[in-house]
Symmetry: none
Subunit: 410 residues, 2 copies
């Protein structure tokens, strides 16, 4: 069984938007053994869309369209599909109720145009949108399947995972499947990781290892194609153990696990609480920590002490210390960590100070210089690093460092 | 004149890589007046690639392939093109010298397979790769043009900008060019904006308006196709003024300007300082504000008061107030804003409290309920909103609300 994906939108063709939906669908389809040999992007043009769907239906069992389901005149998918399968659009009262409810909950007047979304091709299965207003469609046509999904990823992803995937699984017997495992590390450069697993990167299918470098993170991806889950799992598990032996504590998580989740897990396990004082990261560390559901159990407080007066007033950093060593120094990072630990009565205190740039650097203290301190009980860890990149890149790398030090020292 | 882009790579079809090359080429082609109506992604498969190029050549003047020029057996583009245009591959000594030089400079042994890259279709124009080893190709075929570019963006982008664009400009007289302006709004739903500019959305080329909904942000993009920059600018300016009249204060910026930058501008203009107390947004508001270079001039302090004890200790929110109204209430939001304003001695204080979810909601106070208070001198603004989506979506929408209220009330 194979599928073909058509992303719809003139804004895509103009390069104004990066398409992450098609890769998402591709990954999910591979996991359940459905091949994707073609993907397309086409504008908001009914003729070209119709022609493309017709061509796709000739060679593929499933055609998935993405986008063009909204309430505006640019949104042409529903009408195009209705014309293609030769059915009329009828008002769907459930969808209309949903749309009205959507605006009611938000206390916004239901706009006139939004009724358009409730007109669906007669007799075609539709899928409720859990997040937005535009429903999805599943149309059977000439023995093939046309699936229409909304464009926004936060609407498309749950709809595909919770409705379309189970439907496709019922429809076809899985002949092979593709499984993967992502091993995430931080603290090593790409070249270092590369050197440590050089032999594994040369493996040939059905099981392969790839290396992907991100900002202060290097991921290894093991992929295995097999007839059964068990077979794939066994191949992956073997290589995973080899990598674990070689990379040890540099590994912070697997697959979708984030560094902030790893920090949360470690804190919960050791029943420790955390407070963070940030200067150059400007709240990013607190933001990442609080992205984890349940973080209120261990995260007590964050202070973004941007002004020196705030470092003194909120964290008790003495003005003479700042004057003597500068706001960007080991001493101030440590005083911030101790200060926030004391103010929050937390087990662990973190202090970060640095120069995020692009201005404000000097020869002695260049842009990218970051001091990070972590106080755990009586233990004191202070790190000095120099990061490169944009302001946001430097903030992110500093947050990676801070989270990783906490993870390793809890 | 129009072009069609084909991205080649099984990795792309498996969804493991996000294609940013095709959007890049799309943008650059639009700027010089070349239309793109179709884009495709296909795997490392000669038959499917050949069929796709043939179809593309039927309807487009230029077919641009991306990727598959490397030294490995997966790289099939050169051979496929040679077969298609019926020419043989011959060793190009200049390219071979380049490849050897490349490895020599890097003090790496020239790998056996790399010689493969020096075999090019006989009589076809090739383009030197400034960054990597794989040359590009420009083949004339049946009155059409086939352009082959390497996949890595840092190789593709200079090759396209410095070689292909000038070539295409010489080849076809630029009859038109495309300019755009993005108008960014927040505070209105997509359907509301849609309703307010309904007539403009129906405009036909050469000047059009598109609507793009994001999380608590709706953008309008004016695009104008014209013979000269001046002509395009004039058409854009006219519609821009109409939109400004209708949307007024809902507009926070243009093109790449962010909401946090708009907040910064407003604060600098009025010489006001800001301090933020966050609960449910967990540091995101501070993070966004400090993403702006120079924010230390107006942003004094952020407090992420996650625990109730922190609300009391750092912001002076009385425990009895929390007990009476709950931590998620108008009263506590206001007390947080007043508390942080007092602690930081700032002109403006912001307080945000809510339920980011996915757990912790009740019937009276559901997930997504957010209270946001802004204290400006003696003025007090308190807003209650209900957001939907994931934990991160709710945090982001609440941060949009907070930043926008500050922007409007400075």
């Amino acid at each position: 069984m194979n599928a073909e994906i058509i992303s719809i939108g003139t804004e895509l063709l103009l390069g104004r938007i990066i398409d992450t939906d098609a890769p998402y669908l591709s990954r999910k389809l591979a996991e359940i053994g459905i091949d994707v040999y073609h993907r397309h992007t086409v504008g908001d043009n009914p003729e070209r869309l119709t022609a493309l769907i017709e061509t796709a239906l000739e060679r593929s069992d499933i055609v998935i369209t993405v986008g063009g389901l909204g309430p505006t005149v640019d949104d042409i998918t529903i009408e195009t599909i209705a014309n293609l399968i030769d059915t009329r659009l009828v008002l769907n009262k459930t969808v209309l109720k949903d749309v009205r409810e959507y605006f009611k909950i938000r206390r916004v007047k239901c706009p006139a145009g939004s009724k358009r979304q409730a007109y669906l091709p007669e007799g075609v299965k539709w899928i409720r949108n859990r997040v937005g207003t535009a429903p999805g469609l599943v149309a059977k046509y000439k023995g093939k399947l046309i699936v229409c999904l909304p464009g926004p990823p936060r609407e498309l992803e749950p709809m595909f995972d919770l409705d379309v995937i189970p439907y496709l699984k019922r429809l076809h017997k899985i002949k092979w499947l593709l499984k993967s495992c992502t091993i995430k590390t931080t603290g090593l450069a790409e070249a270092q990781v590369n050197y440590m697993v050089k032999d594994l990167l040369k493996l040939n299918p059905p099981t392969t290892v790839g290396i992907y470098a991100k900002l202060r993170e290097v991921d290894l991806v093991i992929m295995s194609k097999a007839k059964t889950h068990r077979q794939a799992d066994r191949s992956i598990e073997k290589i995973k153990r080899t990598i674990q032996k070689r990379l040890g504590g540099h590994i912070f998580g697997y697959d979708d696990e984030t560094l902030e989740e790893a920090v949360g897990k470690a804190l919960i396990k050791k029943r420790k609480t955390l407070a963070v004082a940030e200067s150059c990261t400007g709240g990013l560390v607190s933001h990442r920590i609080t992205n984890v559901s349940g973080s209120s159990d261990y995260f007590l407080m964050g202070v973004v002490a941007y002004a020196n007066a705030a470092k003194t007033a909120m964290l008790g950093v003495s003005p003479s210390l700042i004057e003597k060593y500068g706001a960007v120094s080991r001493q101030v990072a440590l005083a911030m960590a101790e200060g926030v630990q004391g103010a929050a009565c937390s087990d662990i205190g973190v202090g970060i100070t640095g120069i995020a740039g692009p201005t404000g650097g000097t020869k002695a203290k260049p842009v990218g210089l970051v001091y990070m301190a972590c106080v755990v009980g009586k233990k004191r860890i202070v790190r000095e690093l120099r990061f490169k990149g944009s302001r946001e890149d430097i903030k992110f790398q500093a947050s990676q460092l801070a989270l990783d030090v906490v993870r390793r020292s809890v």
